[in-house]
Symmetry: C2
Subunit: 272 residues, 2 copies
């Protein structure tokens, strides 16, 4: 039987998944985590399904060496390309279903908007998941490839960002959505700009809360009082840059954090 | 001795280098080319020098299997991370020195602006090359990470693009530059927007012309009348997407073109 003190493995193409990890750390302070940010090959959302799937397999295989009791794919583009719920005999949690459940709980008028990378939007996974959950309303989806670079340039409150938001999202605003799924882990950083654009009547939905609920129900996570958990954060490139961002995003969690770079491609030939 | 009908190997992180290839094809219609676009790992310009160098080595090693008589690194970020002028015993041509030579020929007031990716700008290779060539004027440099995604979104003539141009380039405009080095192969696609912003008194400089000159002087290239050359265009991801763009960029060249995908990472395990 897996010890409940075993870590949970989490990966994202870069730093966006740290917004998910922070929520998980706050919800489960006794749990330990291994996080992998694949910064040498990001972004994923502009690449083909075959390539994203191959990267996802490699990342899960890397994480599986740490005897993780579960895995979390904290990247929407990667979640869309990994249909199975298991890897190496352990459960894999993804961010699509939790976001869809949350949207269903929020919508009143049955008009749900979905935004994400090109890979996420063209896969139509959110629409499929919503219908599988019994949704019979309307969906409006839009790929927003400029949102990630705008966030990475720090233009969170900027006239150019507001113009690009309007260019992408005017059709769904005019269609009268009341709920918007933020289908990329970078997008919560645009929360205020999107909130200004849509006004308070549109609920902005991401996956962290429902993901925590699923994890708690799975019994894969350390929920009993215990010593504080530990985070080992691996990157495939630019560990110092990731460390700067991670320290800001993860501020206030009780887990200790250790940073390690997997040096140089091919991905896992570096010294581990 | 290498036959003059041997191909020249060219690589870029993606499709930007096709703007360079087109000029070369038009200048040397009898020459054959092997082009590699590393679309599975693009962009390079946001990654570390160590990672860019490793990708560059892999790409040149891949190209060397085709008995190329020379190599061209048609990517500024990769050029900055490959100090040698040889690989596998063959000459390697890069895009930095040609751009610097062209800028020196254009400037009248000795104030040169340089724009590029974060990797290119932080390397200061253009400044170093200009000084090595005897330049004693002033340089003004600026990383413009949003330009590549804006080009890839097709926002070549757009109010948002104009706002971002102003945000990045106002200091060098106010400083009175008369020459601007476009230090990224995507940027010629913003030529008109940049020209509108700076006006006709600022010369916009890229590397294709001087690169062709260097190649012609090297005797590595087929300059005699001959049957038209051939292009084999390899990509590491999304060959159909690349084909669409390539057919538009390369319109009018006389070489025949063949497209091949190197399927799936690790990079060169696919069927060749």
């Amino acid at each position: 039987m897996t010890s409940l003190t075993a870590p949970i493995g989490v990966f994202d193409s870069g730093v966006g998944g740290l917004t998910v990890l922070k929520h998980l750390c706050q919800t489960f302070p006794a749990q330990s985590w291994i996080y992998l940010g694949d910064t040498a090959r990001l972004p994923y959302g502009t690449k083909s399904g075959i390539t994203i799937h191959a990267y996802t397999e490699e990342n899960l295989t890397f994480l599986s060496q740490f005897n993780c009791q579960a895995f979390i794919i904290a990247c929407n583009s990667a979640s869309t390309q990994f249909p199975s719920d298991f890897h190496s005999g352990r459960p894999v949690f993804k961010v699509i279903k939790p976001g869809a459940i949350q949207a269903l709980q929020e919508t009143r008028n049955g008009k749900i908007g979905i935004i994400g990378t090109k890979a996420t939007i063209s896969s139509r996974v959110y629409e499929n998941e919503l219908h599988r959950l019994g949704f019979s309303g309307e969906t409006f989806s839009q790929a927003c490839p400029l949102f990630v670079p705008l966030v990475e340039e720090g233009l969170l409150h900027d006239a150019a960002t507001d113009l690009i938001i309007d260019r992408y999202l005017r059709p769904m605003k005019e269609a009268g959505i009341d709920t918007l799924i933020l289908g990329c882990t970078h997008y919560p950083l645009l929360y205020q700009a999107l909130n200004r654009y849509f006004g308070p009547s549109v609920k902005l939905v991401s996956s962290e809360f429902q993901l925590s609920q699923s994890l708690a129900h799975s019994h894969c996570v350390q929920t009993e009082p215990h010593t504080p958990g530990h985070i080992t954060l691996y990157t495939t490139d630019r560990v110092e840059f990731v460390k700067d961002i991670a320290e800001r995003i993860l501020l206030g969690i009780t887990q200790t954090i250790e940073y390690r770079n997997i040096s140089g491609p091919p991905l896992y030939e570096g010294s581990l």
